[in-house]
């Protein structure tokens, strides 16, 4: 009744091709923006920022990045953790080498460096596909972690191999380091997420996104109709790595503050982000958000319910949490292989007809 297209008349091309063509969608999108940028920052506490919102925002960036590569271009990657590490170490080296340059520029440059590394590791994708490509990107994951562990230049020769983010300010307010107020952390990441999601959304529905999808759906047919696989695949790797690099840079500089490559950017991270896009929905920007929210919030939620609410011992709760999470992932893959985004799509279809389904 509320959610429907009837009565919406588009009178210009701009109206016809807008991101949210339905008025109700547009309203929710605007409400989300207002709440996200104008309401939440005023209620942000350290706990909410560090346990829930900042990780969610950063993982959402990484999930959009991986979704571009895997969901839109069909190139399976298990190197996400490694590429995030590139972003993190790039921003660390930039922050410590050029302290006078703005942190925003450093984060974007770190994305650029990661894009270059991503293209390099994307080259094999021109020859190999599917599982074999997954194995090649897995090699990237292990190689990059090994590299950052092995070469002391990357961690400025510190005794423990840890990298620690120094304090950097934006408009006089700390955004990295220990003295960062919770709202600044949140807003800094939220602005990046907004900008990147906006870019991703518009890339994926333009020429370049259509090329990626053509390659994903059938690469030979795509080549026959004039899509250059070299340009399409490498651009997907570049854009995806750019996003993931920014996520890695924010993850280290804003969220963790100190990081150790093997632990923060290990293979588990690659799988976590892959699970996010699988649960959220391959080939969907909304799915990246939903998947990131699901995998960030669910453990925190379960922990608070089981330990805080029911008073269970923390170890039992931790084990049950793993089982519930695993069970949900398997359940999702069986019941809704296209993820939360598909659930949302089905719901929208139903809503359009409601309350007169026939």
């Amino acid at each position: 009744m509320l959610y429907r297209e009837a009565g919406e008349f588009k009178t210009s091309y701009a109206q016809d091709s807008q991101t949210f063509p339905i008025w109700w969608d547009r309203l929710w999108y605007q409400v989300a923006l207002v709440v996200g940028f104008l309401v939440l920052p005023f209620f942000m506490t350290d706990y909410w920022a560090n346990a829930v919102f900042v990780p969610f925002l950063i993982y959402a960036i990484a999930a959009i990045g991986l979704n571009i590569l895997t969901g839109y271009c069909g190139q399976v990657s298990l190197g996400t953790g490694g590429f995030m590490a590139v972003g993190a170490y790039a921003v660390y080296k930039l922050m410590t080498s050029f302290p006078e340059v703005s942190i925003v520029i450093h984060v974007i440059l770190a994305g650029g460096i990661t894009a270059a590394v991503g293209v390099l590791f994307g080259l094999p994708s021109l020859r190999i596909k599917g599982f074999y490509l997954a194995v090649a990107t897995l090699a990237a994951q292990f190689f990059l972690v090994w590299l950052f562990n092995k070469v002391p230049w990357f961690y400025n020769y510190s005794a423990s191999g840890q990298i620690t983010a120094p304090e950097r300010t934006l408009f006089g307010i700390a955004v990295t380091g220990a003295n960062t107020p919770a709202w600044a952390k949140y807003l800094f990441c939220a602005v990046f997420l907004f900008a990147l999601a906006w870019i991703a959304r518009n890339l994926t529905r333009g020429t370049i996104g259509r090329k990626w999808m053509a390659i994903r759906d059938m690469d030979i047919a795509a080549e026959i109709i004039g899509v250059n696989p070299l340009a399409a695949k490498l651009s997907a790797f570049a854009v995806s790595s750019f996003f993931i690099g920014i996520a890695g840079a924010l993850f280290f500089a804003v969220y963790l503050g100190a990081a150790e490559v093997g632990e923060a950017f290990g293979i588990q991270k690659s799988f976590l982000i892959l699970f996010m896009i699988i649960i959220g929905g391959l080939g969907s920007i909304f799915g990246s958000f939903a998947g990131a929210a699901f995998l960030v919030l669910l453990p925190v939620f379960l922990k608070n319910v089981l330990v805080g609410g029911l008073g269970w011992p923390s170890d039992l709760a931790a084990h049950i949490e793993l089982m519930i999470l695993g069970g949900l992932i398997i359940g999702f893959l069986i019941l809704e292989p296209h993820g939360l985004a598909q659930l949302w799509r089905v719901l929208k279809e139903k809503l359009r007809l409601w309350p007169f389904p026939h």
Partner: protein
């Protein structure tokens, strides 16, 4: 979907926060009872928790104030550790002991900003021993570099005062923890003329075939081992498999618990490790623990770890924290101390042999006194050796002091680098 989860989580978190009382002394227990490091985390957490339960049951808390130890599972993971810290700090937390070097590195700047004490006995950032730079961090009685130096000193004694031309391999957890001693050992190798080789093992370390193949090829005279969790028992098993002489295999105190050696059976006989406290359960405090905690059914975990090495260590850490709180109460003249007063208590803390005896732990740990400059303690350690037939550890050396001549400049150098990075000025001047 997203919204409903946010709301549910919000409700759950709000409910959790409302339940905590504010009047008691809160010492959060960031423990890990799951994951590849649980073998070390469980007994430590049990000992830590049980000691505070003992104080609550026997003495009615510290200075009449009950101690709460809300437990939070970190799984030795830094992200979860940060979440645990944020979740518990609002309850009025006085001091943290996360038992993870990775989490410690995360927390040092945060806790400096929040004004809460971080106590990392025998782990964490070694250069935090310099109180001039690290106001809120304490790592007495001993740290990683002390351990490396004590191990080398012990080997010197064993070899008639000279390690000239000997080969020592450092087998380590490839993380901040395992990398810590490298710089010290490099200095020491220069000083004593031994050859040092590095064998990193990636976490969690269930697979060490290639490292032990390298040991077979290089034939080092001694292997110094910095491992933790499942890595320990694997390494000892592998050493037994290649028939590496166990008496030449020395672990740091984190690689010397019953859980590490029992799986290798008789093969582990003779394995040595450092320890910073006494072993076994022949201390009077254990009788109290049994009476007030275990027999009363108030023990943490399943109660099976009493008297093991890591249980004792958790208890030792809890004891030091309790003494620091007691000191803080004395200095502040009130029993309801806050986080800043507890920090002062840590800095003024003096543990004497007489006091240890009063606490039911005679000849258990080294006496030490902290000061504004010194947050690191004397750093002494003893050597213990595993007897596989008796299934127990025996102390085979007296307290060995580390080589401060080498360590002090290194600590100063590293802490100065941190101070510069973080923009801190030295205190205590």
């Amino acid at each position: 979907m997203k919204k409903s989860f946010t709301l549910l989580a919000a409700a759950a978190i709000a409910a959790g926060a409302a339940g905590a009382a504010q009047a008691d002394l809160v010492v959060p227990n960031l423990s890990y009872r799951t994951g590849p490091f649980a073998a070390g985390g469980i007994p430590y957490a049990d000992g830590f928790q049980d000691y505070f339960t003992l104080l609550n049951e026997r003495d009615g808390g510290i200075g009449g104030e009950k101690v709460l130890t809300p437990e939070c599972e970190t799984a030795y993971n830094t992200e979860k550790g940060v979440e645990c810290y944020e979740a518990t700090k609002g309850q009025g937390a006085l001091v943290y002991n996360p038992l993870s070097t990775g989490i410690t590195y995360q927390l040092i700047p945060k806790m400096q900003a929040d004004g809460i004490t971080l106590y990392t006995p025998g782990y964490g950032r070694t250069s935090a021993a310099n109180g001039k730079v690290f106001e809120w961090v304490f790592n007495y009685p001993a740290n990683y570099w002390d351990a490396a130096s004590v191990a080398v000193k012990y080997l010197l004694d064993e070899n008639g005062g000279s390690l000239e031309g000997k080969k020592i391999a450092l087998l380590y957890h490839n993380s901040a923890y395992g990398k810590e001693p490298i710089r010290t050992l490099e200095e020491l190798s220069e000083k004593h003329g031994f050859e040092l080789s590095m064998l990193p093992i990636d976490s969690p370390g269930q697979e060490q075939k290639s490292q032990w193949l390298q040991v077979r090829r290089e034939k080092p005279d001694f292997v110094v081992f910095y491992g933790w969790g499942v890595m320990n028992s694997v390494a000892i098993q592998e050493a037994a498999n290649i028939r590496f002489p166990m008496e030449n295999f020395i672990g740091i105190w984190w690689s010397g618990s019953e859980n590490d050696v029992i799986p290798a059976g008789a093969g582990a006989n003779g394995y040595k490790s450092l320890t910073m406290h006494g072993v076994g359960s022949d201390y009077p405090v254990y009788a109290d623990l049994k009476q007030y905690v275990h027999d009363a059914g108030k023990a943490a975990g399943d109660g099976s770890n009493v008297g093991t090495v890591l249980y004792s260590r958790g208890m030792y850490a809890a004891m030091v924290i309790a003494e620091a709180i007691r000191k803080a109460q004395e200095l502040a003249g009130t029993s309801a101390v806050n986080a800043a007063q507890v920090r002062d208590g840590f800095e003024a803390l003096e543990i004497t042999e007489a006091r240890m005896e009063e606490l039911g732990l005679p000849d258990f740990g080294q006496p030490f006194a902290a000061s504004c400059e010194d947050h690191g303690g004397p750093g002494m350690a003893r050597i213990q050796q595993w007897d596989a037939n008796e299934r127990k550890w025996t102390l085979i050396s007296d307290w060995i002091a580390p080589d401060d001549e080498v360590l002090t400049p290194l600590v100063m150098e590293d802490s100065a680098a941190y101070a510069k990075e973080a923009g801190l000025t030295e205190r205590c001047n």
